[in-house]
C-alpha cells in the first residue's frame, strides 16, 4: 500500500520522531469538537523546513496523505486524517527566530503557541493581538484564518501575517511576502495560504505583524434584561466608530456556565464583556461613550475597571467559555456553530436562532465576537446519541442557511474542515469550483489534507 511504502521509507530517517503507537495515533486523530475521529497511520515530528520538504517529496511520490497538526485545538475536524497517512506534528518547530521590535514584526516557526509568543514578547513592549481563546499554535491559526476576541480592533490572521515560508506538496520551498507593510508585487500568495487549512502547502515559517502594548487598558461588563438590547448596544458602538479592543456577548446560559465552572457569581443575564486600549484619556473616553450607549439601551450598570487582576479574571472566564458551556451538561460535547453576518443583520440572526432553540430539546449557550457580527452556539450533545447529533445538525443547518440568506458566511473564524464543507457550494457558488482548480495545480496528487475545503476529493 502506498501509505505503507511512504512510512517505510521515512521510518529509518526519523527514528523515534516517527511513531505508530496507537495512543499517539488516536491523539492525532481527533480535535476538540464532535467530529468522528480517524487516526493517521503514523505521526512524525519534523524539526526543520528541510525535513518537512523531505517528507512532502516522499509522500508525493507514494500518494501518502499529510495532515499538519498544530495544537489540536481546532473545532471543525481540520486535523482529522480522514484518509489516514501521516500527521505532521509541528510542535518541535516552535522557535522564535527573529524579533524586529523597531518594525513591530516577528519571525517564528509554526509550532509556537500564541500564549508563549506573547510571553516571549512581553519585555519588548509589543504584543500579538489575535486571540482565539484556545492556546493554539500560530501555524494552525494562520492555516484556519483564526481571529477571536480582539479582531474587532486588530483584525484577523488575514491582516496579521506579513510573510510565509511554505513547503509545497512536491517539496518545493517557497517564500511569500516580505517584511514591508504593503506590496503590490503580484499575486497575494500569503493570503492564499492563510486559511487554506493545510490543503495547499505546509506553513514552516511565519512573519507576523505586532502591535504596541497599549499605554492603558480597561475592561468593562454590562448586563442587560434582554439579549436584543445587548446586541443593539454593540451595533451602535461599532457604528459610532468607537475603537473597542474587544466586545463580547455572552448569553445567560454561558454566564451560568462560568458561575458553575469557574466559581463566578454573575447575574445570569445577557452580558457584554468589553476591553478598551489606548492612551489614558482615550480609554476613559471610550468607556464613557459605550457606557452611555449601554445606558440608553437599558444596560444594568456598566462596571469598568483598570485593575489588571479583575481584567485577567474576566478574560480567563471568557476563554474558558467552551469548557464552561460543556460543564452545563456533564458528559456533553459542544457542536459548535460559527456564523458571521453583516452587523445590521446581527440582531435578526440572533433572534431567529433563539426562536429555533426555544423549540429544540437541546441546550445551546451562545457567545459572540459580536463587534464583527460573529457568534457561536455550543449545542450540547451526547456524542453517542445519533438523535441528538441529528438535532444539532438540523439546528446548525438552519443557522448556517440563515447566515447565507443575511449576506454572511457559515464560518467567521473556525474554518471549513469537515463540518462546513457541505455549505461551500451554497456560500461560494461557481467560485468553489475555482478553489478546486487552484488546489489541483498546487497539489495534483491530492496528498495535502485530503477531504477538506475543495469539491470532489
Amino acid at each position: 500500500m502506498s501509505i505503507e511504502t511512504a512510512i517505510a521509507e521515512l521510518a529509518p530517517r526519523f527514528g523515534e520522531r516517527l511513531s505508530r503507537a496507537e495512543a499517539v495515533r488516536a491523539q492525532h486523530g481527533a480535535d476538540e469538537a464532535h467530529h468522528a475521529p480517524h487516526p493517521p497511520d503514523a505521526v512524525i515530528w519534523p524539526e526543520s523546513t528541510a525535513e518537512v520538504a523531505e517528507i512532502a517529496r516522499t509522500c508525493s511520490a507514494h500518494g501518502c496523505p499529510i495532515v499538519a497538526w498544530g495544537a489540536g485545538t481546532s473545532l471543525e475536524g481540520h486535523v482529522i486524517p480522514v484518509r489516514g497517512g501521516i500527521s505532521l506534528d509541528m510542535s518541535r518547530m516552535d522557535r522564535l527566530l527573529e524579533v524586529h521590535a523597531e518594525d513591530m514584526d516577528v519571525v517564528i516557526q509554526p509550532g509556537i503557541t500564541r500564549k508563549r509568543l506573547n510571553e516571549e514578547l512581553r519585555a519588548t513592549g509589543l504584543f500579538f493581538p489575535v486571540d482565539p481563546g484556545a492556546d493554539a499554535s500560530l501555524g494552525g491559526m494562520a492555516a484556519t484564518r483564526a481571529s477571536g476576541t480582539c479582531a474587532v480592533r486588530y483584525g484577523t490572521m488575514r491582516e496579521a501575517v506579513l510573510a510565509l515560508e511554505v513547503v509545497l506538496a512536491d517539496g518545493r520551498v517557497i517564500r511569500t511576502g516580505t517584511r514591508a507593510r504593503k506590496s503590490s508585487a503580484g499575486y497575494d500568495l500569503t493570503r492564499l495560504f492563510v486559511g487554506s487549512e493545510g490543503t495547499l502547502g505546509i506553513i514552516t515559517e511565519l512573519t507576523l505583524r505586532l502591535h504596541g502594548q497599549p499605554e492603558a487598558i480597561s475592561a468593562a461588563t454590562c448586563a442587560f434584561g434582554r439579549l436584543e438590547d445587548a446586541v443593539q448596544t454593540v451595533i451602535e458602538t461599532i457604528q459610532m466608530g468607537v475603537p473597542v479592543a474587544r466586545i463580547e456577548l455572552l448569553d445567560p446560559l454561558t454566564i451560568r456556565g462560568f458561575n458553575g465552572y469557574s466559581g463566578y457569581d454573575m447575574p445570569e443575564l445577557p452580558t457584554l464583556f468589553l476591553e478598551f486600549h489606548g492612551s489614558e484619556a482615550s480609554v476613559a473616553e471610550q468607556a464613557e461613550t459605550v457606557g452611555a450607549i449601554a445606558g440608553e439601551n437599558g444596560g444594568r450598570g456598566f462596571d469598568w475597571t483598570r485593575e489588571p487582576e479583575a481584567r485577567n479574571r474576566l478574560w480567563a472566564a471568557r476563554h474558558s467559555a467552551y469548557y464552561a458551556q460543556q460543564s452545563l451538561r456533564p458528559g456533553a460535547r459542544g457542536y459548535v456553530t460559527d456564523v458571521c453576518v453583516p452587523i445590521s443583520r446581527l440582531a435578526e440572526a440572533i433572534a431567529e436562532t433563539e426562536a429555533d432553540l426555544a423549540e429544540s430539546p437541546l441546550m445551546a449557550p451562545l457567545v459572540g465576537h459580536v463587534g464583527d457580527g460573529n457568534f457561536h452556539l455550543s449545542i450540547l450533545i451526547d456524542p453517542e446519541d445519533p438523535a441528538e447529533i441529528a438535532e444539532a445538525a438540523r439546528l446548525a443547518g438552519r443557522i448556517n442557511e440563515r447566515a447565507l440568506r443575511l449576506g454572511g458566511t457559515v464560518t467567521g473564524e473556525h474554518g471549513v474542515g469537515l463540518g462546513k464543507r457541505k455549505y461551500m457550494a451554497a456560500e461560494h457558488g461557481e467560485a468553489w469550483g475555482l478553489m478546486g482548480e487552484i488546489k489541483a495545480v498546487l497539489d495534483p496528487a491530492g496528498i495535502l489534507n485530503p477531504g477538506k475545503i475543495v469539491p470532489g476529493n
Copy 2:
C-alpha cells in the same frame, strides 16, 4: 488573424460602443508614465457584467487579448495592450449599486472613481479612505492593490475590498467573499484577484469597506533641516503607535515644485505633511505627541490647523505632486520608483538613494508614504532621450535592488505592470513560478492582460 475575428464578431453586437478610431486607440495605449505606448486593436465600452462575459467568451474562443481600462492613471504600464487586442473601457460601468450605511460598506461597479464615490457618500457620514492621489477608478485600484496617503491608518485595497464579482477568461462569472467582516470559508479568492492587474479575471463589481467620517480632523506641516531628521520623526511616530491618518515626506525639490506649480510659498526644506483623525481630544493629543517628537528631532515649527480650507489646500498640493515634480523640468516625464521597506530600514534606504542621486545628472524629487516605509522618486527624463532613460533605469535598478536587500518590495502600491516584471524573480524566487501556474489555470489561453506579472507569456 484571431484578434480580427474576435473584433469582427463583437463589432455588430456593440455598435458605437466599439471603436477602432486611431485617437481612441492611442488614448487607450498609454498610461501616465514613461512606458512605450502600444495601442489596442479596438476599444469596447461594456455596460454590464453580462456584456463583459460575452466579450470574454468571444475573445477566449479566438485568442484575442483583453486589457481592462479604468481611468488610465496607473504608472507601470498595466493598461498598455502590448499584444494588441481589446481595451475594455469600464467607465460606463460606474454605478453606485448599494450603500449599507449601517454596515459601513458599499457595493459599486468598477468604473466609479474614488472622488465621485466619496462625493456620493458625503451625506451618509461615511467615507472611503484609500487615496492614491490620482482620481483612479475603484476597479483599477483593486486590480493594482493601490494604497496612498491614508494607508498608514486605514490600510490598502487589500483591507478595503470585502467581496468581488469577477468575469473569468472563459466568461464564467464568480463572486468572492461576502459582506461579513471576516470569514474562514476556504481560499481567499478576493485577495487573489486584488492586485492581479487584470491577468486573472475582470472585476465587474466590488463591495468595499467604509469608515466613519472622523469627528475631528487636523492637519500639520513641519519642516526639517535634514531629511534624516524628518525620517526619524516618522519612525518614532509609528513606533509610538500614534494612529496618524497620513504622514507624508516631501523633499526640497518637491516643495520647490509645489511653489512653482501651485503658487505655494513653502520653505524648500524636507517637510512632513500630517493629518490626524479622531475625537476632538484624540486629535489634539496626537498632534501634541507628534509635535513633541518632531521638536526633539529638530523640526522647525509644527504648524497645525483645524481649518478645512487650509487642510484641503495642503492635500491638493500633495495630490498634485506628480505634476508639480514634472513642472520642475518642462517637457520631462517622471520615471517613477515605488519601493517599500521595513520602517527600521527607511532612513538607510533614503540616505543611500540620495547619495546615488547626488552623483547622477538627473533630477529626481522624492515623496513618500513614509509611515508605511514606502517612498517614490520621480526621475525626470526627456522621454525621447535614450541615454536619460538608461540612466533612470540604472538608478531605479539600484533603488529596487536595495529595497530587496533591506527586506522590502520593489512596489509598495503601483503594481508590477511592465516596469517591475523584471524584478519579480528576485523578489519572489520560486513563488513567482507558482504565480505563473495559477495564472495558467485561470487563463489557459493567456488572453487576460498578456505580458504582465507572471513569467514567460
